[in-house]
């Protein structure tokens, strides 16, 4: 009995310790972002009893941050729309239809999951230059879409093939076209799959820093993660501004995560956990 109690305490302290390790750095950033730079430099550990909001105003007024955020929204949003539309369509066809070459096409798509974007970066760079898509959000969106599609199609075709076949026949007897079948009958039923695909692809795109680093050169086109590195070089010792910048960059995802954490966990581990 004592042993059981002891082990329960042990496991709970593991979790509490972990929680503290996760939360403390975040609290330090939040606290420091609300302190004036010189004040912080004198006493880095003090609590921000009188929040100094000017840091946030300064970051925002610099002008580059709103642009970075907007660019990230455009790139992530654009990629997400393309990924959802294309994987919905391809997932429907691969999950519901039987046709010649079905398994070859599925196999080809799955092989795309094995190619790391970093490996293909050199030819991609030259190819995008040739297509006049270098230093452009559209080029970046297409590369992200292509990278996320294999897994997205795989997930969606799984969701489509799990639906009962009678649905299709009933809809067809009622005179629905294939397009109506997909749009009106099946799409609402695969919404959980779309949610998983959305999180699985959007988070890495929002967080990515490598592809913008290579593909985007104009300052006004940079994404938030890429912009942060420039920002840090510029304000290297202005702590208050740096912490506020970190907060602004981190807040959108944290907020979203706190609202729908279960979907995040399911979505981000979708590639690794079956079922």
């Amino acid at each position: 009995m004592i042993k059981l109690f002891a082990s329960k305490i042990f496991f709970r302290s593991v979790l509490i310790f972990n929680t503290v390790i996760v939360i403390l750095p975040l609290l330090f950033i939040v606290n420091s972002s609300l302190r004036e730079t010189n004040d912080f430099a004198r006493t880095p550990m003090k609590l921000a009893t009188h929040p100094y909001w000017q840091n946030f105003k300064d970051v925002w007024a610099g002008g580059t941050f709103p642009t970075y955020l907007k660019n990230s929204l455009v790139v992530t949003g654009g990629s997400l729309i393309l990924i959802l539309l294309l994987s919905l369509g391809a997932g429907f066809v691969l999950g519901r239809y039987k046709f010649k070459g079905h398994s070859i096409i599925l196999g080809f798509i799955l092989s795309g999951m094995l190619v790391p974007a970093k490996l293909a970066i050199l030819p991609l760079f030259i190819q995008l230059k040739w297509m006049h898509l270098l230093d452009s959000h559209i080029g970046l969106i297409l590369v992200y879409t292509s990278g996320a599609l294999p897994a997205a199609i795989f997930i969606m075709s799984g969701f489509f093939s799990a639906l009962p076949a009678d649905l299709d026949n009933a809809a067809r007897i009622d005179g629905a076209s294939e397009f109506q079948l997909l749009r009106i009958v099946l799409t609402p039923l695969v919404r959980p799959g779309l949610a998983i695909v959305a999180i699985y692809s959007a988070i890495p795109i929002w967080n990515d820093f490598f592809l913008p680093l290579v593909f985007l050169q104009s300052p006004e086109k940079k994404t938030i993660m890429q912009g942060l590195t420039a920002f840090f070089g510029e304000y290297s010792s202005q702590w208050g501004i740096i912490f506020a910048g970190l907060m602004i960059a981190a807040l959108p995802l944290i907020t979203l995560y706190l609202i729908i954490s279960e979907q995040f966990i399911k979505g981000l581990t979708a590639g690794a956990v079956k079922g």
């Binding site: 996760v22 790391p116 230059k129 292509s146 967080n207 702590w239 981000l268």
Partner: protein, 306 residues
């Protein structure tokens, strides 16, 4: 008649819906991946392709002056893989088991433990740079406070501690991922086995070692393979904290950083060596592909069937 109409409809729909996706993947993933291989067999001047080079680029990659940094970078990747695999797997299993055992508050702890996984490595990197700052960071402040002054190191600034510190930061950000994978592995274990063992008088430790741990093998395969791929393509965190040259003094250099320098030019020399970069890219992909492929085959063969 109606049947053939349906067939025609379906055929048209198949093309209409598959082609855009397939074309995107072919143009922006398959073609570039295949072209990387061909790039490695040519001479390059800047971004201009020259004459056929045979295996010259591969030979030069393994000769002076690239050889030394290649082997050093590779050594770092191997060390990082081993370090992350050992620490992250054991911590991941420990956390997963703790979550599994304690139903009360599980949701809260799960949410907190997975939180860092959603962060960009850029944010995580800069956050820890601030945490570990020798003058203003809380870590060294605390170490001084409790009198462990000798432990208050310049964590990211000295060659001895930079790489282990990066591994720790990576761990902080990622440990929630294997923890969740292992947790779903534990939850998938049939309760009957556990009940039967309990009735036979097995202790909790015995049940874990003899039943649960072997049945976690599929999760272990996934985590190991993902860690391997991640470790050999490690780029973001070393780049954010050490720049493209892996400072201090190359102590955090990795294969992917070297690939980046060769492909797009380093800060100090400016010139790029696309042929050699492509050769290194092919090398990395071969290592990752063979390692992940054979690794998962081997690990899978050791999984027990339920």
């Amino acid at each position: 008649m109606a049947k053939s109409g349906l067939k025609r409809d379906q055929q048209r729909f198949t093309y209409l819906l598959l082609l855009p996706a397939l074309l995107t993947i072919i143009i922006f993933t398959s073609l570039p991946a295949l072209t990387t291989l061909s790039y490695s067999f040519f001479h390059w001047t800047g971004f201009q392709r020259g004459s056929f080079a045979g295996i010259e680029n591969f030979r030069r990659l393994f000769a002076f002056p690239f050889r030394d940094s290649l082997f050093m970078a590779m050594r770092h990747n191997v060390l990082v893989f081993i370090g992350i695999l050992l620490i992250q797997t054991s911590l991941g299993i420990l956390i997963a088991y703790a979550l599994y055992r304690l139903k009360r508050g599980q949701r809260f702890y799960r949410t907190v433990i997975f939180l860092p996984v959603i962060f960009s490595l850029v944010i995580v990197g800069y956050m820890w740079q601030a945490m570990l700052d020798p003058f203003y960071g809380p870590v060294n402040y605390l170490l001084h406070k409790i009198g462990w002054d000798s432990l208050a190191l310049t964590w990211l600034g000295s060659t001895a501690t930079a790489l282990p510190t990066l591994v720790f930061i990576n761990l902080w950000r990622w440990v929630g991922f294997p923890a969740i994978i292992f947790l779903s592995g534990l939850n998938a274990i049939n309760n009957e086995y556990l009940e039967a063992a309990k009735i036979d008088g097995a202790s909790e430790g015995q049940i874990f070692r003899k039943i649960m741990f072997p049945l976690l093998a599929p999760s272990m395969t996934i985590v190991t393979v993902l860690t391997f791929i991640g470790a050999f393509e490690w780029f973001d965190l070393p780049y954010v904290l050490g720049g493209s040259s892996g400072s201090p003094a190359g102590a955090t250099d990795t294969l992917a950083l070297m690939f980046y320098r060769l492909s797009f030019g380093s800060v100090d020399s400016g010139a790029n060596e696309i042929g050699i970069g492509a050769a290194l890219g092919v090398l990395i992909f071969t290592v990752v592909g063979i390692g992940a492929g054979f690794g998962s085959k081997y690990l899978r063969s050791r999984e027990v069937q339920m």
